[in-house]
């Protein structure tokens, strides 16, 4: 496997930063999935696409808008009507979906090189993200497993809640370094650690 270069690299500084004298309250990591794939169903074919997701990654999507789940290695969530983002630690997801999602069901778009996945975790994760995105991060409104599509200024972001205090952010690779720097600045006042 060829080592993929991170767009964050010049600004990715492992260690504790900001106001961490009283402990770090945020953990930032780049999850570097091997595969990031976007799936879209033709109208009326949504159920077949959800079945294909179950076949390929073994995750049964919950019903409803923005529903999703993660098993640690693989993640899936809805981000628009009939559209889903799937990420996997392993490479090759697009090829697997190209077999399962036949042209009469929908489309498969390989975004493995097009998105950067940033994980923000810790007791202040919700609080920091609330500075960025005008959406409700409270657990009842944004349950674990659910996904959201939103923007930070003009940087489109998909947010997947993979834990009570943990969120995976998918941003355009070309904007990722700028987004990362802004995120680090936002974390400074609570103290953060980059791993």
């Amino acid at each position: 496997m060829v080592e993929r270069q991170s767009p964050l690299e010049p600004e990715f500084h492992v260690g504790s930063h900001g106001n961490f004298e009283h402990g770090v309250e945020i953990l930032l990591t780049e999850t570097r999935p091997g595969s990031i794939v976007q799936l879209a169903a033709w109208p009326g074919e949504e159920k077949k696409l959800i079945a294909a997701i179950r076949t390929v990654v073994g995750l049964a999507l919950p019903d409803g808008a923005g529903g999703g789940m993660s098993d640690g290695a693989k993640s899936v969530f809805g981000f628009a009507p009939g559209k889903f983002t799937v990420a996997d630690e392993a490479e090759g997801l697009a090829a697997a979906f190209a077999k399962a999602v036949t042209p009469d069901i929908g489309t498969v778009t390989d975004l493995s090189h097009g998105r950067t996945a940033i994980r923000i975790a810790g007791p202040k994760a919700e609080w920091v993200l609330a500075k960025f995105f005008a959406i409700d991060f409270a657990l009842p409104a944004f349950p674990v497993g659910a996904g959201r599509s939103t923007v930070h200024h003009d940087v489109f972001a998909q947010i997947h809640r993979t834990g009570t205090d943990q969120f995976d952010l998918y941003v355009f690779r070309s904007f990722a370094r700028s987004f990362w720097k802004a995120l680090c600045h936002a974390c400074e006042e609570v103290g953060y650690e980059v791993q």
């Binding site: 109208p43 409803g64 808008a65 009507p81 005008a134 959406i135």
Partner: protein, 98 residues
């Protein structure tokens, strides 16, 4: 101003792009009816009250929405997908409603 997207829920207006008057009817592309084209391009109802509008949730699910907005109060009385054929999974569950 908040618009409650049928997929994403209540979102700030900055996430949306106005796509124009929802009352217009586009003539057939090959139409030679200049009156109809003129009406499509220029004629607007400009109501002081409820107005049919098309908005795109460009900073979210990117769906196109039919919105009824009161031009005097900005009150939004209805939001629906322009496309009516999104499956049931495209709608927020009742308990998710704000």
């Amino acid at each position: 101003m908040l618009i409650t997207c049928p997929y994403c829920g209540p979102r700030d207006v900055i996430e949306f792009t106005y796509q124009g008057d929802g009352n217009r009817e586009r003539p057939e592309p090959a139409s030679q009816n200049f009156e109809a084209w003129n009406a499509y391009v220029y004629d607007r109802l400009n109501p002081a009250g409820d107005h049919n509008e098309i908005w795109q949730h460009s900073g979210g699910c990117r769906a196109h929405l039919r919105v009824v907005r009161n031009t005097l109060t900005h009150e939004i009385s209805s939001v629906a997908f322009v496309r009516g054929d999104h499956g049931s999974g495209a709608r927020r569950k009742a308990e998710d409603k704000p």
